[in-house]
Every structure is written in structure tokens, then in C-alpha cells.
């Protein structure tokens, strides 16, 4: 059973967690620069500050598992194995983007990687993973083409504190609990829905407590501690795989930046921001790795250098990817030709 003690983990695993968090942070910083430089036409919702959640959650997942994400989705997608070059290409609105420039930041998806998709509708992805879990259950029960792609899997949805007030949240949790589906509902409570603080949008503090409405397990993780997230998530995943049903997992965290690129976030008290900045998930995990002699100073630089190169290459790849032909806009409304199951 994994826990919060560094010694219980494989050093490479720990290094990968660190790496992935830094990758997300730098990706988001770079995306913001690239947007300011005019390379990205759409809007962005930076994930900076919440990296431990995406990385801790996805580290507990395997090949046959699926995630659905949100408007603040880059972190989830990177943590699940999304490649920066195809992500930048998508943000650049180029042909090599994951969605061939049709989706943009809000809609990056790749079912082969287990990514059902980011989502522009708050709460919109929650019912989808209930369905994904239904498909998984069906694959566990019966052999049909594609079964091998999801049998034994779990499905996971990320959503925010704000989203936990949408009807889709309630309906989906009820359904997943009723059918004992292998779903983990990951609520990233970053204390704000847009410009509205949690106490102005709901009367509870612990969103995990809403699990009781469905007789579902509710767990809370320190969303700024990647190992804690991983540890708690592992419990939830085990339960789901064993057929014990879904979990509502709340990760307490904070976004460092505004709601979207450009929002100065003046609505947040200075002390609050400072409190959370001091809990930076990357700094703190880095410190622990140093203290545990698992990474040396120069190792951090190596990570940064490697990521810098990845992102420079990715941006270059994106910049060189062809613009879509405007006529492509008329394609893909319907599946043009269909032989057998489209995806799995």
C-alpha cells in the first residue's frame, strides 16, 4: 500500500512525478507566453498551482483507464500522456493538433490515450465517465470487438468546486453509486469558480462530504501534495477495480493565476494567495526529494533543461504544422465512412 512516506516508493517513480509536475507548470507558462505573442487564438485557463492533482491522480492509472477533463485541462492531459507537440499544435490551431485544430484548449481529446476530452461546459464531462464506466463494465462482462481496450479499467473525471453545484454532478454520482461503477470523481477544490469564492457558491467546506448523499465513499487529499493525492487515489482505484463502486475524491488546492489568462484575480485576499503560494506543490515536493536525497540540485536543472527542450521543440513543431484548409471546417460533422466500431 503506497502512502506518504518517500521511502516506500521507487525513486524513478518519484522522479517521474516531479518531472510531470514541472512539465505541466512550464507548459502552462509557455502557453501563456505563446498566447501573448499571438500564436494562440483562443483563451486559456492555466492549471498552474494544481499540478499535484493531475499528476497524482494519473500516476495511479493504467492503460485501460479513461479520464475526462475540464476547461482547465492541460495538466490532466499532460499527466495522462498527452504530447506537448500535439497539444501546442492544437492550441496554435494547426493540422497536427490532437483535434486537427477543430477543438482548441477546451476540447483536447484522445481516446487512444484514455482521454475522453477536456470540456467547455462546467460539469459537462461528469456524466461521460459514468458512461465510460458502463462500457468498461460491459467489456468486463462480454467479449466483443474492442473489449481489450477498456476491460478492467476505471474511469475518472476531473471537475472543480464550482462544478459540484451543477445538476450533472448530482445525477452522475447517483447513477454511478447505484450501478457500482468503477468511477473516481475527482473534485479539484481550488476555492473559486471563476471570480466567486467557495463560500459564496456553496455552504459546505468539504465537497467530499457530498458523497454521503449517494452512500458513496468520500475521500479528501491534500491537492498540493502529489504523494497524498496518489496515495488516496490508489485506494479509490483499487476499490473501483474490485467492483466496490465509485469514490468522490476531493483534492484541496489552489490556482496560482487568474481564472483565465488575463484575469488578474484581484478578488482574492493577499493573505490567502500567500498562504497557498507557500504550499507550492512543486517546490515542496522538490524540497522533500532533496531532503530524502532522492534528487540533487543538478538533477533539478536536468529536469528543467529536458523540459525546456521538449517545449521549445513542441512550439517549433506547432509553428511549422500547416494551417488547416478552411474547407476542412465542413468535414467531420458526421462520420464519413464507418467500418465496424470507430474507435475501440
Amino acid at each position: 500500500m503506497p502512502n506518504n512516506n518517500l521511502q516506500n516508493y521507487n525513486p524513478e517513480f518519484l522522479a517521474r512525478l516531479y518531472h510531470d509536475m514541472v512539465l505541466i507548470r512550464r507548459f502552462e507558462e509557455r502557453a501563456s507566453e505563446l498566447r501573448n505573442a499571438g500564436h494562440i487564438p483562443g483563451f486559456l485557463h492555466p492549471y498552474i498551482g494544481q499540478e499535484a492533482v493531475a499528476v497524482g491522480i494519473c500516476a495511479a492509472l493504467g492503460k485501460n483507464d479513461f479520464i475526462a477533463s475540464t476547461h482547465r485541462g492541460h495538466g490532466h492531459i499532460l499527466a495522462r500522456g498527452g504530447e506537448p507537440k500535439h497539444m501546442f499544435a492544437e492550441l496554435y490551431a494547426r493540422q497536427d493538433g490532437y483535434n486537427r485544430a477543430k477543438g482548441g484548449s477546451l476540447h483536447i481529446a484522445n481516446i487512444e490515450l484514455g482521454i475522453i476530452g477536456a470540456n467547455g461546459i462546467v460539469g459537462g464531462g461528469i456524466p461521460l465517465v459514468v458512461g465510460a464506466a458502463l462500457a468498461i463494465k460491459r467489456a468486463n462482462e462480454a467479449d466483443y470487438p474492442g473489449t481489450e481496450k477498456c476491460a478492467g479499467g476505471v474511469s475518472v473525471v476531473f471537475f472543480g468546486d464550482g462544478a459540484s453545484n451543477e445538476g450533472s454532478f448530482h445525477e452522475s454520482l447517483n447513477l454511478a453509486a447505484l450501478w457500482k461503477l468503477p468511477v473516481i470523481f475527482v473534485c479539484e477544490n481550488n476555492l473559486y469558480g471563476e471570480f466567486t469564492s467557495q463560500e459564496k457558491h456553496q455552504t459546505i467546506k468539504d465537497i467530499a462530504s457530498r458523497s454521503s448523499s449517494y452512500n458513496m465513499t468520500g475521500l479528501i487529499a491534500d491537492g498540493n501534495d502529489v504523494l497524498d493525492v496518489f496515495h488516496v487515489m490508489t485506494t479509490a482505484v483499487d476499490n473501483a477495480r474490485k467492483g466496490n463502486g465509485p469514490t468522490l475524491l476531493e483534492c484541496k488546492t489552489y490556482r496560482h493565476r487568474g481564472h483565465y489568462e488575463g484575469d488578474m484575480a484581484h478578488y482574492r485576499p493577499k493573505e490567502e494567495v500567500e498562504f497557498w503560494m507557500a504550499k507550492d506543490p512543486i517546490d515542496n515536493f522538490g524540497k522533500r526529494l532533496m531532503e530524502g536525497s532522492l534528487m540533487k540540485k543538478e538533477d533539478f536543472q536536468t529536469v528543467e533543461d529536458e523540459i525546456e527542450k521538449t517545449l521549445v521543440d513542441a512550439a517549433e513543431f506547432a509553428g511549422q504544422s500547416p494551417h488547416p484548409d478552411p474547407e476542412e471546417a465542413l468535414e467531420n460533422v458526421f462520420v464519413e465512412s464507418y467500418e465496424g466500431r470507430a474507435l475501440l
Partner: protein, 329 residues
């Protein structure tokens, strides 16, 4: 056409056969809905399927239309086709986000890299004093939502053939049934068959005027056509079957023959699908038109409770006859 053995069965049985055959053909297909399992659906369409396919494939959902449709979509994105019943079409209002912002757009938003083979069946139309929230005909909305296919079934033959095609279709299909048709009977082939989406049918040949109709307006139009025949007016009745995709060639053929167009549907006239058909004709077949187009639709009102008022807001045989006569004046 070679002789095909047929039987007379009801519309509702035809739907049931389509569901049963497709679930047999493809072991992955799932069915969802409120009270569709042991109860067999409030209109009895899914009777026996639970017994046949078991609780893993025929699922009763709680009363939560948004999650139900979203779950259907999620499963279909992973390659598990779904058929979801919305008990009354009016309740689709609760699942609009999952249908419009999610299901309709997934294939497109992902640059063609996903597919959502899902069918949403729903019953539509006015009957039996069920009043404003259980009587609507909402198909037009979905024709205005790119990414959704929209199918109407007007006879047992169509019900079975179109539903089977819809289930095999790789795209989300909104499948409209009509309350008053469930007990109607018709000839249905013995063996396996499907009807393609996007192909209309001339239901009755004629030369003076084309009347377009679907769902429960089709039998009314046929009655009207019979009566008009006695007046020496020859009515061609054309049924588009699927509204999206729409059989333009079929419309063109009948219009170039008759040059006159009456469109009848139960949904409110304003911005109903009749407007789209009229607009297509006024744009593309303007020169074949010998007279103003005439749309006959439901009144632009909610559906009232009292039967005499209910009748007033839905086109009747007499209204259809009058419209045809007027077009010929």
C-alpha cells in the same frame, strides 16, 4: 421488386423487433431509460428485452435525464452503442446540454477522431389530453443542431427499418416516434431489412400537388388525399423519413412533377421543420413552383388540456384538404 413475405404487426412491435434484433446482432449494444427494463417502458416498446438480454444490457435509470443521456454518450464514445429512451419527448429539455453541446459535437470537435453511435428514442405528439408538458413535437430543434441525425418513423415498416439503421449508424441519432402510432398496424417483411437514413419515400403517387408529411400527420394526409381524389385532385404524398440527412433529390423529384407544395407537421408552425422544407423549395425549386407554398403546422401555442382545444391546435384532415384546395386555387 421480388415478392417479400410480410406480416401485419404494430408499430410498437416493429420497434421492439428492431431493438431485439440489433441487440442480438451486436452483443455490445446497451439500452437505457426510465422504466424500460422489467416494466417494458410506459408505452410497452421495450417489453421482453430485459428478460431476453438481462439487467446488464437493459438498464433502468433513476429519473435523471441529463446523466442518462450523458452516460449513453460516454459509453458510445468507447465503442458501446446505446439506445436511450426518453419517456416523453418533452423531457429531452433536461438533456439538451449532453445532446447539443456534447453528443452532437464530439466527432467534430475531435477532428473526426471519435464517434458516438447512440440513438435517443422519444415519443412525441399530442394525444389524450396530456397537456402542455407531455405533448410536444420538438424535432425541429435537433435539425438545427449540426451533428445530430433526426429520424421520424411513421409506419411499422419504417419504425423497424429506420430504427435498425439508426442503431448501426456511427453518429448520434434522434429517433422520433408518435404516441398515436404505437397501435397502428402495417406490413413488415419477415426477414432482416433496414431502411437507409436520408431517403424519403413517395407514399402515394399523384400529379397536382405534393404534400409532405411524417409521423401522425402522414395517415391524416393520406385520408385527405383519398377525399380529394373524389374531387378530382390528385395528391402526391411524400414522406422524408429522416429530416437530417434530408432527401433533397426526393423532394425535387416530386416537386418537379407537381409544382405545388403543402407541408404538414404537428409541431408549431413557426420555425418548424416545414419552414426549412419551404425555404429549400423557395430557394432551389422556385422555378418549378406554380403556386405559393403552404405550411400547415401546429398552432403557435403550447398544447392545451381540453380535447376540443387540443384538436384546434393540431392540423386535422379538413385543414389539410382546405390547404390543398387553396394551393390549387
Amino acid at each position: 421488386m421480388s415478392e417479400v413475405a410480410t406480416r401485419r404487426i404494430s408499430y410498437s412491435q416493429a420497434l421492439n423487433e428492431a431493438l431485439s434484433e440489433e441487440m442480438e446482432r451486436d452483443p455490445s449494444v446497451l439500452m437505457l431509460g426510465e422504466d424500460v427494463a422489467a416494466p417494458g417502458g410506459v408505452f410497452g416498446v421495450t417489453k421482453g428485452l430485459y428478460e431476453k438480454f438481462g439487467e446488464n444490457r437493459v438498464l433502468d435509470t433513476p429519473i435523471s435525464e441529463e446523466a442518462m443521456v450523458g452516460a449513453a454518450l460516454g459509453a458510445s464514445l468507447l465503442g458501446v452503442p446505446t439506445v436511450t429512451e426518453i419517456m416523453f419527448g418533452d423531457f429531452v429539455t433536461l438533456a439538451m446540454d449532453q445532446l447539443v453541446n456534447q453528443a452532437a459535437k464530439f466527432h467534430y470537435m475531435t477532428g473526426g477522431r471519435t464517434s458516438a453511435p447512440m440513438v435517443v428514442r422519444m415519443v412525441t405528439g399530442t394525444a389524450g389530453a396530456t397537456a402542455a408538458q407531455h405533448s410536444q413535437s420538438l424535432e425541429s430543434w435537433f435539425t438545427h443542431t449540426p451533428g445530430l441525425k433526426v429520424v421520424t418513423a411513421s409506419t411499422p415498416y419504417e419504425a423497424k427499418g429506420l430504427l435498425k439503421s439508426a442503431i448501426r449508424d456511427p453518429d448520434p441519432v434522434m429517433f422520433f416516434e408518435h404516441k398515436l402510432l404505437y397501435n397502428s398496424k402495417g406490413d413488415v417483411p419477415e426477414g432482416e431489412y433496414t431502411l437507409p437514413l436520408g431517403e424519403g419515400a413517395v407514399v402515394r403517387e399523384g400529379t397536382d400537388v405534393t404534400v409532405v408529411a411524417y409521423l401522425n400527420m402522414l395517415p391524416k394526409v393520406l385520408q385527405a388525399a383519398k377525399k380529394l381524389d373524389r374531387e378530382g385532385i390528385s395528391v402526391e404524398v411524400w414522406n422524408p423519413r429522416s429530416l437530417v440527412p434530408f432527401d433533397r433529390a426526393g423532394l425535387e423529384r416530386t416537386l418537379s412533377k407537381t409544382g405545388r407544395l403543402v407541408i404538414v407537421h404537428e409541431a408549431p408552425r413557426r420555425s418548424g421543420f416545414g419552414a426549412e422544407i419551404a425555404a429549400i423549395a423557395a430557394e432551389e425549386y422556385f422555378d418549378s413552383l406554380k403556386a405559393p407554398i403552404c405550411r400547415l403546422g401546429g398552432a403557435n401555442t403550447p398544447i392545451p388540456y381540453a380535447p376540443e382545444m387540443e384538436n384546434r391546435v393540431i392540423p386535422g384532415v379538413e385543414n389539410i384538404i382546405e390547404a390543398v384546395r387553396q394551393t390549387l386555387r
